[in-house]
Subunit: 434 residues, 2 copies
Amino acid sequence: VGAGDRGRVSLLVEDLHQADVGTLLEALEPEERPQLIELLGRDFDFSALTEVDDAVREEILEELETETVAEGVRDLDSDDAVYILEDLTDADQAEILQHLPAVERVALQRALDYPEDSAGRLMQTEFIAVPPFWTVGQTIDFMRETEELPDTFYEIFVVDPGIRLLGSVPLDKLLRSKRPVRISGIMLDEPDQVEATDQQEDVARRFQRYNLVSAAVIDEAGRLVGVITIDDVVDVIEEEADAEIKALGGVKPDEELSDNVWEIARGRFTWLLVNLLTAILASAVIGLFEKSLEKMVALAVLMPIVASMGGNAGTQSMTVAVRALATRNLGRGNVRRIVGREILVGLINGVAFALVMGVVAVVWFGLPSLGPVIGLALIVTLTSAAFGGIVIPVLLDRFEVDPAVASGPFVTTITDVVGFFAFLGIATLWFGLG
Amino acid sequence: VGAGDRGRVSLLVEDLHQADVGTLLEALEPEERPQLIELLGRDFDFSALTEVDDAVREEILEELETETVAEGVRDLDSDDAVYILEDLTDADQAEILQHLPAVERVALQRALDYPEDSAGRLMQTEFIAVPPFWTVGQTIDFMRETEELPDTFYEIFVVDPGIRLLGSVPLDKLLRSKRPVRISGIMLDEPDQVEATDQQEDVARRFQRYNLVSAAVIDEAGRLVGVITIDDVVDVIEEEADAEIKALGGVKPDEELSDNVWEIARGRFTWLLVNLLTAILASAVIGLFEKSLEKMVALAVLMPIVASMGGNAGTQSMTVAVRALATRNLGRGNVRRIVGREILVGLINGVAFALVMGVVAVVWFGLPSLGPVIGLALIVTLTSAAFGGIVIPVLLDRFEVDPAVASGPFVTTITDVVGFFAFLGIATLWFGLG
């Protein structure tokens, strides 16, 4: 690329899949990326840009000429074009759209007008729709003769003159039917469909639950406006899982490997700051027992064990709760049963570790009464941890706060505060340290 | 169901999608589930059993007559049949297979012989394969006349007389071609294919990366043995994400909402036991500084803050590392850069929280020199936490240990040990408490 050897570069890139071109782009130095694209000119398939990190894509798009971008997105299916354009500023979008022919401009603009993370942003506006009175033969001939078909498709749609969706015909059904058969005779009356304003997450759940490969997208008036195919949904599923894992780990969902050090440090700072507040609260609880700690320093040595066990048990329950909520397996129907079960699990493991750790503490410090003290504290802490771990995500979900993001600090606060308070409080009473 | 009213029950179930029947089964009391299936008889679609929790499915299958199960799986596509049978004991499998016709028995047996979590288990053995010299017309006529076609398919395969895979033709391409055109003229020479022994996880990555909808499965000899479609892959992707989230939260990947209290408690006990060992190690470190703690109890109050901040910073780095490894975005090419970046992020946030917490500690305890002590400890701890959080998952991955499962305890050990040691050690030296 550095040498500007167009021939060799395009030979190299020609046979690569768009996903591999994306990887290649990411591997290049930032300044070489737009160079490569300009070098390739018409040979560069812009769909490769859907395969790179957001930060990399934005950088590349900023460097490229508006005309080049307009030319590039023009060749794409509309869902890929929307994906590339949606993170740009409104001004940049408008400038690029200006360079497109009217039909494509209107289609893209309409898709971009749907809210972020809606089905309307995910759909492609290229689809095949035929009237119900056509025959299989007519339909096949129509497809053979039409030049501008979508890149790939798995069903054709049946619409009335107002483009309202009447039904759908999977391709394999079309292929297996004889030419004179009417479309209305083989179409599915209740085609898989979603509304353009539906959340992508809900669309993904539907695809998953009903094993769909494509679904019609309709607007408020029931008119067919696009189609969502499973390859886009797979990306949504992966993104959702990615966001959930990162949220649980205290990392912003949009943090990417290509981000720079300052962005990353700033993003993680917020989470650590929230954690600092809960940690200070826990320390304040310890501060209440300064006298006890002075009299018996063994308590200071053992107290992190109680808090740590509580923290881990709480995280276990919380993980199960967050997962079950995300997969819609935890709802009003079974929430009582699951909460009761978690408390029981906490209690059982509380008792188990009370025995283990009671013996360890007695042996370690040679102080027989330390056993029941730490044992009791573990039972209280692990049971509360399990209760908090399940109830907090459920409550957050009811108040429509994302439980994966917000549960952690609450659960940690409960396990730390209860852990330190139970252990130091019981010890103070038991040993009369007050 | 209780009243055994077959007519009303089948009316009720008739129009439901298999996924909804699955949900219905899970909502019933355990003893009613097999009753419902027997009541429905031939009207019950066994594919609903692929939609319920593993534990529920195993219970139901145990209760049902072998003949009923054999009859039920016979109607299924082979991938669903394998999914239902694979968790049964070998003896139960053999008994059910005996009741099947020879052709289906052999096909299922072969799929079950592939290793667990391999592509061979995921594939369906029903597919359409034609010779390259056929024409489009011949192929379409063949599909119209053949009764026993797969339920849905997105491409047909082209094979030689030895059933070795030569190419594939997507259905839309077939539909758009004229009848006299030869299949060899429109087929893709390099069809998307995987080997039967490939890991499901790798198959899922391929589907995702290259936006596939179906892929041929070939055996060692290059013979076409089945086809994997995206709906199965979506389940694999979801399972992988589920396993990763649970592993990071210290929960066994196969824990399900329908498990009973004892199974769950036992499963989580193991993780908590590992955690107890790391907590005891951290306590032992605190034990080294008993004298310092006796002289200055403020240290006992503040020390959990240092450990907790380290733990959270370590978890952040670890989450990013585990994610990047799972998505194959972290490899030999960029590992140095990412490790360096994480250390820098740890250092930056270490300095930031050193300032914040230094001021808080001084104000709280009115002891000016406590500021630099806790500040220094935070810088050391957060930097080590970031380093451990990224390096441990990478090392585990190199030794082919699942980083999502095993990283947690190591990272916690590092952050706790370093946190307590740094804070108490620096304080002991600074204040001359030794």
